[in-house]
Symmetry: C2
Subunit: 303 residues, 2 copies
Amino acid sequence: MSLVIVGTVAFDAIETPFGKTDKIVGGAATFAGFSASYLYDNVKLVSVIGEDFVDNINVITSRGINVEGVEMVKGAKSFFWSGKYHNDMNSRDTLVTELNVLADFDPKIPSSYQDCEYLLLGNLTPQIQLDTLNRLEKQPKLVVLDTMNFWMDVALDDLKKVLKRVDVLTINDSEARQLSGEYSLVKAAKKILAMGPKYLIIKKGEHGALLFGEDQIFSAPALPLAEVFDPTGAGDTFAGGFIGYLAKVKTVNFNNMKNAIIYGSAMASFCVEKFGTERLQNLTNEEISTRLQQFVSLAKFDI
Amino acid sequence: MSLVIVGTVAFDAIETPFGKTDKIVGGAATFAGFSASYLYDNVKLVSVIGEDFVDNINVITSRGINVEGVEMVKGAKSFFWSGKYHNDMNSRDTLVTELNVLADFDPKIPSSYQDCEYLLLGNLTPQIQLDTLNRLEKQPKLVVLDTMNFWMDVALDDLKKVLKRVDVLTINDSEARQLSGEYSLVKAAKKILAMGPKYLIIKKGEHGALLFGEDQIFSAPALPLAEVFDPTGAGDTFAGGFIGYLAKVKTVNFNNMKNAIIYGSAMASFCVEKFGTERLQNLTNEEISTRLQQFVSLAKFDI
């Protein structure tokens, strides 16, 4: 049994008010994989890289992550994104997007991945997400889908097809409003759950997240931070921690999903402390449990 | 021992996407007083009204609220505000502001109010807030101050004077950023607590509230609502519920303040269900405890 994550493995160059980087290891599947690897020990990635990434792949495998499903295209370059964050760290400008190998990404599912029980479909074209589902011989126990406003703009029909086949959708509040046409997040959730997913997570950045499903609502806090050093990958890190926790506890229900959101939020709170995946590469179990306790103190009251 | 609330008692005329009202009973002290009256039985108002309010004062006294400190100015008109909410209910246009009796408001503290142990200084000029404090013979056990960006713009020096004399400040997130000059709410809180208050509550509307103090942080959820019928008075209702709960439990500490925020939020969630103070006039204890339990389910997780 395994947890499979489909998404980008890429290079990022990031500029924030605190500094700037050259090309560093990034990509949604990388962030999510790192995050999940602290909670579950059988994490497998599906992605595509260029020859320029070969020297960096050991950063990922050193966390025990299986990269058999990460196709390497000879003589080609990896997906590259460069962005600059504004002073409030809540908005950013994209400086460069080079699709490179991502332009022709056709996800390969190695036979050793057919034991997939937990599947995270990272933010990619809905068609790639559908292809992945079709190439798995057995429907996983839990499918979590991440997407974004761009696919709502250019590939809504495909997105609606994939929504019918997933268990959990994670989007942010403005995306939930766009997808549903409703301003109230309660009404938005009702409409989106009618599109297929059994659970909806609405991410609200510094305001935490809401989980809807089983006719219940859970409101998760975000850890108030004095400084967000680099928010790149925080959403992917959240998703990886979320599904990693569920893979670890093996039972999918609303109560476990509440904890999964707290674990995902805790992992994301580490992610933003340094550039890129740096902080996620060497966490200790003690650091993680201390952080989880901070969430407990933050949210607990006795009524 | 009593809970004294200083603020406006006024008329409002409100337009929302759901409908519009003629002049109805409003004012910060009215909302806060109603809210507190469900939690504590010795609530006293300090305010000023015109002769036009005389027929409405029984709406307030019928909740057992003492209005001896509400001065009535013969031949004059009460403060009147009229506003129109936009479709998202998060922004509004002020259509009319008639100060009327509020222009010369000079708070009178009846001798029967000198037993004040809990004091809520509603959003008024910092000078009136200072005058009130100076007219109390004994410093209350707990002083809660509400203010707004307007006073930061036009009366910052006075505001800073009153901040040195209060225990709790309640403002919203953009006001916290304005007052501190910091974007990060953690940094903002640190600066604001250095200005005098022992505790700071940052209200974030549909995203809940943060409490800072005693080197701790509490993140309170807001109840996700399908519809906000009329947000007028929600902040005042929150403040009234907050201080009402603390007056009831008699002990001021961080843990009790956490519960007080949940009580305040629960009362505010009723407030927005109907126009003005309508929903706050006839709540049952059962409705309130059911609502509190919704907050418990919303926020609870077991890690």
